[in-house]
Amino acid sequence: MSTSAGPTAQPELEPTSETSKDQLLEIAMGPQHPSTHGVFRMNVVLDGEHVVRLKPVFGYLHRNHEKIAESETYLGSMPYTDRLDYICSITNNWAYALAVEKLAGIEVPERAEYLRVITGELTRLQNHACLIGFLMQDMGSSGTPLMYAFREREKILDLFESLTGARMMCNYMRFGGCRADLPTGWLDQAKKVVAGFPRFLDEYEQLLVGNEILMDRTQDVGVLSRELAVSAGISGPMARASGVDYDIRKVDHYSIYDRFAFRVPLGTHGDVYDRFMVRLLEMRESVNILEQAMRDIPPGPIVDPKMKVRGFRPKPGEAYGRIESPKGELGFYLISDGSPNPYRYRVRPPSLINLTVLEDLCVGRNVADIVAILGSIDIVLGEVDR
């Protein structure tokens, strides 16, 4: 086996005009830094308080998920996808199920599509609410916004628990449908939670949107241009905050999203504040979708009756399936050789790819801005490192 070693040395630092080279300070932010949302390290070179260079270091949570999936059956990987982005396990399941359905040509019954949309949008609500809470916490707002967000998230996790049996590791989707139908009274409870959500959003907006400290900390910080966002493959709310009008729910029309009326909020500046605002507005649109879906959900089967659970072997071929997960474009690329396990199983991790531009956003800013910028990118290390 070839052991071709690549160039591992870092490029030499160029001293700036005012500072000589030995006045630069290299510090490691992380892997145990609380603002890194997990085990993630940034090697930061500082000139006084200013960031000269920032190199992210990945891999602390690496377990080679893709290799493990090659020796699992297709369904055997489904619960493992929960552990990628553990905040949004249901959308991970959905992306994987979608890819397998494309690979094997499986139809999904209508009721199952509605269930997917409902649980998927609930996932988006709780992810965005939490993310804003974490962002505020990182910037030093000592708990209040985070606790407000967690109060709402709790209600949604209770819904997940009664539907799937688990609060976070839901393992809810199956190829060609969903695992469990709604328990009695679930829909009424969910309607109540969703109906109460705009009130929380009003409260949240009143608390944060016009807050002077928040504006000072986030406006014109970490500006991402539209051109760089497209070139660097940035997806999800982060791309839309930079003005990229691209929502996979609108573009691909996957599942039944073309039945619902909803808008795609766009930012204009591409700074941390816009990323925060886009997520806040997206939650309102998710509430819209949820109200329509819960009104229209038809009765019927929840899984394709022709779907084989045991001995599932897709015909040789390949498929790339992607969805608009709360973090961005979550895709699965599967290659089948006709055997019960995938020949190649690739996760397109939005968290990792959104980190491509971390250095570009941070260089020239202060140390405290790194925390705000990283918080606004919305990463989960389970997905970054896989």
């Binding site: 070839s2 490029p11 290799k67 070139s231 498929a319 790339y320 895709g331 690329y333 790819i353």
Partner: protein, 218 residues
């Protein structure tokens, strides 16, 4: 726009490039385009910038290892059997060279098209693991190509910062390759378990260390 039209457009724009349509038999219908590594960057630039194409968003970069499929065939060989020369059937294994392949999934944000699947292959992977990097064309390939370098050992020429992404720099091999064998001294700390202890003893003795008694678990 179908793949045939894109192919002929590229052939006209990049003279000398060799493009092959790779059919995908699965119901997804996502056929792909294999491009030769010498013209990969030119083809990628054309895909990104040509007004009719504008594939400006490189979503996903995947590495794939295709080891040569070992086959056995029967051959007749002349051999001495019991002192008499005879024709005997023998099994011979044939191991053709394997290859590493990198797949790019492209989308067009402007025209809302995609996915366009590009494939580049190294050919015989024992002789060549070099491929041109498409990071100068699409920034999004930066971390993903580093990951493929890390896990598959594809060296991307022209990548601005090609280092291991997920594993540590001192790691020698490429675990996503199909012929990767996990080292047996992953955890050589002696524990009460017999198999681990046996391996630990073996490694300790190879290193000239002191042996612990077999089965001496606490």
């Amino acid at each position: 726009m179908n793949l045939e039209a894109i192919k002929s457009k590229l052939e006209a724009a990049v003279p000398g490039c060799r493009l092959v349509l790779v059919a995908n038999p699965s119901p997804s219908g996502q056929h792909s385009l294999r491009i030769d590594s010498a013209h990969a960057v030119a083809v990628a630039l054309c895909l990104r910038d040509a007004p009719g194409l504008r594939f400006d968003f490189c979503s996903n970069v995947t590495g794939i290892d295709w080891p040569g499929k070992q086959t056995t065939e029967k051959v007749m060989a002349r051999k001495l059997v019991d002192g008499i020369e005879q024709d005997v059937e023998e099994l011979r294994t044939i191991a053709p060279p394997g290859s590493l392949e990198v797949v790019y999934h492209l989308f067009s944000i402007e025209k809302k098209l995609g996915p366009l699947v590009l494939r580049i292959s190294t050919g015989d992977r024992d002789a060549n693991v070099h491929l041109p990097s498409l990071t100068p064309v699409w920034r999004s390939a930066e971390l993903q190509e580093r990951e493929i370098f890390d896990l598959f050992g594809v060296v991307f020429d022209g990548h601005p910062d090609l280092r291991r992404l997920l594993l540590w720099d001192e790691f020698q091999e490429h675990p996503m390759r199909r012929d990767y064998v996990e080292p047996d001294d992953y955890e050589y700390e002696p524990t009460a378990h017999d198999e681990v202890l046996r391996r630990a003893n073996q490694h300790l003795s190879e290193a000239g260390g002191k042996l612990q008694s077999e089965g001496g678990g606490r």
